[in-house]
């Protein structure tokens, strides 16, 4: 009896060892806010990340034909305790080898410092843009495919000054995103010689913004910079400013640019300008073709999610290991030049090059270029409101 037991245990052990040697199963966590304030964006983001995983699995070229299995988790976008619990569970119980996420800046910082760094887990966020994350101690474990708002602040300052606008009033939505963006813009703009007459917060979800606009109008300026949300207080501020004749033209960062802006205001804000992350590289168009309507490929941060998952898997291939400690140093290598440029849909080709000992430069759907210790350098689309519609001026 004893012998029989021993034999079966031995054969079981042999069986698992055999399976492991043949084709490893690699689990990747996807931690996004499937419930909460950005729940409308996250489904297509997760689909984007899973598309990259499927592409790699189908190629059969990662670490001897490993199968990549996504594990979804809900970050809630705002509840740091819930998000860290999810990340903890994915690492200790599911055994993920890397995390695509999190999404919102607050929960991303919480997961990074409480779970990822203590467990040595690599995180690539597709959408956390707060400048504060740049200075967090991440031990080389944190990357993002969305640019920091510190970069957007600089771009915004350049766009305004190039138009000859040297005096602006700024209002921002009172949260990490708005405050971070307004501060980075103010620093960049003043350093370049612009003047900010007032830099003040507005709360989302109020019925009336005439008091806020009164203060902004009193401070004056050539243009009003609205760092808010287009279906929230930002729209209220613009409406009140137009009604009272305080400002005619505005400048909009990414949170304000959307179809709703055009629909609600149209030619009333003629001549206003703005910018949001975007690229004219071929990658974005190829990505849209590749998705072929299976989900919304142009939804914000969806291409970034594809790129985040792809980077983790390519780095694993480059390191020849799925252990975060081994592949974390390879992420910047696969993302940046030199090497063969890799567009979306070419992951199989990239894996082959890496297997043959070559070098790749991952371009992906968003023209990824990691700088400053693992942040996207950031490409922006500069827009203006012309004939009541949003039109592209150029990419920068």
């Amino acid at each position: 009896m004893k012998k029989l037991l021993l034999a079966s245990v031995a054969s079981l052990a042999a069986g698992t060892a055999f399976a492991g040697g043949h084709a490893e199963e690699i689990k990747l966590g996807i931690i996004l806010g499937f419930t909460g304030p950005i729940e409308s964006l996250t489904p297509s983001m997760a689909d984007g990340a899973e598309l990259a995983m499927k592409e790699v699995t189908d190629s059969g070229l990662l670490l001897g034909g490993a199968k990549v299995v996504p594990v979804r988790g809900d970050s809630t976008c705002i509840d740091a305790a819930a998000a860290t619990a999810v990340a903890e569970r994915q690492i200790t119980s599911d055994g993920v080898k890397g995390i695509v996420g999190a999404d919102c800046s607050g929960v991303t910082g919480a997961i990074l410092s409480n779970v990822a760094v203590p467990n040595g887990m690599v995180m690539i966020s597709p959408s956390a843009t707060s400048p504060a994350l740049s200075s967090d101690a991440d031990e080389g474990l944190f990357f993002r495919t969305a640019p920091s708002d510190a970069r957007q602040g600089v771009v915004m300052a350049e766009v305004l000054l190039e138009q000859g606008i040297s005096e602006v009033a700024v209002t921002y939505t009172n949260n990490d995103y708005g405050k971070g963006l307004a501060d980075s813009f103010a620093a960049a703009y003043e350093a370049m010689g612009g003047t900010i007459t007032i830099n003040t917060a507005h709360e989302d979800g109020k019925a009336d913004y005439s008091a806020e606009v009164g203060a902004l109008a009193s401070a004056g300026g050539d243009r009003l910079v609205v760092a808010g949300y287009v279906d929230q207080g930002g729209a209220g501020i613009i409406r009140a400013a137009l009604d009272s004749g305080a400002f005619d033209t505005f400048h909009f960062p990414d949170g304000m640019i959307g179809q709703a802006l055009q629909d609600n205001f149209g030619d009333e804000i003629e001549g206003s300008s703005g910018q949001h992350p975007g690229t004219d590289s071929d990658g974005a168009a190829i990505f849209v073709d590749m998705v072929a309507g299976a989900f919304d490929a142009t939804s914000p941060f969806t291409p970034e999610s594809y790129d985040a998952a792809a980077l983790i898997l390519l780095a694993m291939a480059a390191a020849g290991s799925s252990d975060p400690a081994d592949y974390k140093s390879k992420i910047e290598m696969v993302a940046n030049a030199p090497g063969e440029p890799i567009l979306p849909g070419e992951l199989a080709k990239a894996l082959q090059i890496l297997a043959d000992g070559g070098d790749i430069d991952y371009i992906g759907a968003t023209a990824v270029e990691l700088v400053n210790g693992g942040e996207s350098a950031g490409n922006y689309r500069q827009i203006e409101i012309k004939d009541g519609a949003i039109s592209t001026v150029k990419y920068r």
């Binding site: 009172n174 507005h202 979800g205 009336d208 606009v213 009164g214 203060a215 009193s218 009604d243 004749g245």
Partner: protein, 336 residues
């Protein structure tokens, strides 16, 4: 010229918004003060009564719009107000029948009625969100402006514009009419006089044959009408959002208490005091002062006493000051 520009800027950013807001607060405070004077408790469900009346108006406005009925340059919502009042009256009288009457028969202390009204408030909130959801509803239509900032600048050649929205004009006119009607009713009609008698001394009023249930019913009807009108005017001027109506409770109570709870005149004065302090204290006076002051005295800072984030704090502070130094309010209401 500079003086004119300064005055126009003052009117555009302070006087016009504050007068409109003050009228809306005054109408709301009148409802609170009537309940306090006659039924003797602070009705915390008032904000949500306003929201409910407005909700009915929003629904009827949508119905009229789909039927193609409109008032031309005026908002269609005006046509729907009677239905809103009827809806609010049904809800409030139903609540009275189910809830308040039970406690009135027990002759409970006012503080218990206050707590009861908080319970009623939560029920109303649920009901409103159940019907229309938590989102923002815009139901204003017709002409947006009596005069827009751009037209004003072209007309006068001044550098500053003065915008007057249709809803702001409408708010003030409607408020004046409603207040005049209310005072005529309270002072001239038999029912109004019996209500005031009931308010002054309940026992004497009962002895002289006034039917208390009738007084209570008329009071609730008037409160429903006032709440609906105030809610609709606020919603037309800004927008309808259930949570915002709940937040309005604070400035409304501040207005009623500043004026003197139970005193209708005080409620109106209180509404304007609160509105002007909120707008005036959070306004950045730089623009106006630069126009009005001689050049050497022109301010370089914003001259803003409080950031606009603290708008609600102003109501609190006014409330505290009044309760500390003049608990009966400016117009000798009842001590709280």
């Amino acid at each position: 010229m500079d003086v004119l520009n300064g005055l126009v800027a003052l009117a555009n950013f302070v006087l016009v918004p504050a007068i409109a807001y003050g009228s809306q607060l005054a109408l709301g405070a009148l409802g609170v003060t009537l309940v306090y004077g006659i039924l003797r408790f602070s009705n915390f469900a008032h904000g949500d009564s306003m929201a409910f009346g407005t909700l009915v108006v929003v629904l009827f406005t949508a119905l009229f719009q789909s039927m193609g009925i409109s008032l031309g340059p005026l908002p269609t919502a005006l046509l729907a107000i009677p239905f809103g009042i009827a809806g609010a009256a049904l809800l409030i009288l139903g609540t009275d029948r189910l809830v308040y009457r039970f406690y009135r028969a027990q002759r409970v202390k006012p503080v218990i009625l206050v707590i009861v009204s908080i319970g009623v408030m939560f029920v109303y909130e649920g009901l409103i969100r159940f019907i229309i959801g938590t989102g923002e509803q815009r139901f204003a239509d017709g002409e947006r402006f009596i005069i827009s900032a751009r037209e004003f600048k072209q007309m006068t050649g001044l550098r500053e514009g003065l915008a007057l929205k249709t809803t702001q004009g409408l708010t003030v006119v409607t408020a004046v009419i409603v207040v005049a009607l209310l005072f005529w009713f309270l002072n001239r009609t038999r029912t109004g006089k019996s209500m005031r008698a009931f308010s002054d001394n309940e026992d004497l009023a009962l002895l002289s044959g006034i039917n208390p249930e009738r007084v209570v019913m008329v009071t609730w009807l008037i409160v429903a009408a006032l709440a609906t009108v105030a809610g609709v005017l606020y919603g037309l001027d800004k927008s309808f959002k259930p949570f915002v109506y709940f937040q309005l409770l604070l400035p409304i109570f501040a207005s009623a208490i500043v004026g003197g709870l139970g005193n209708p005149l005080g409620a109106i004065a209180g509404g304007f005091v609160v509105a002007f302090s909120e707008v005036g204290i959070t306004y950045a006076w730089k623009k106006v002062l630069v126009y009005l002051m001689p050049e050497p005295l022109e301010p370089s800072g914003l001259v803003q006493l409080l950031s606009t984030d603290y708008k609600f704090a102003v109501s609190f502070v006014i409330l505290l000051i009044v309760l500390l130094f003049r608990p009966t309010g400016l117009f000798k209401g009842k001590a709280v």
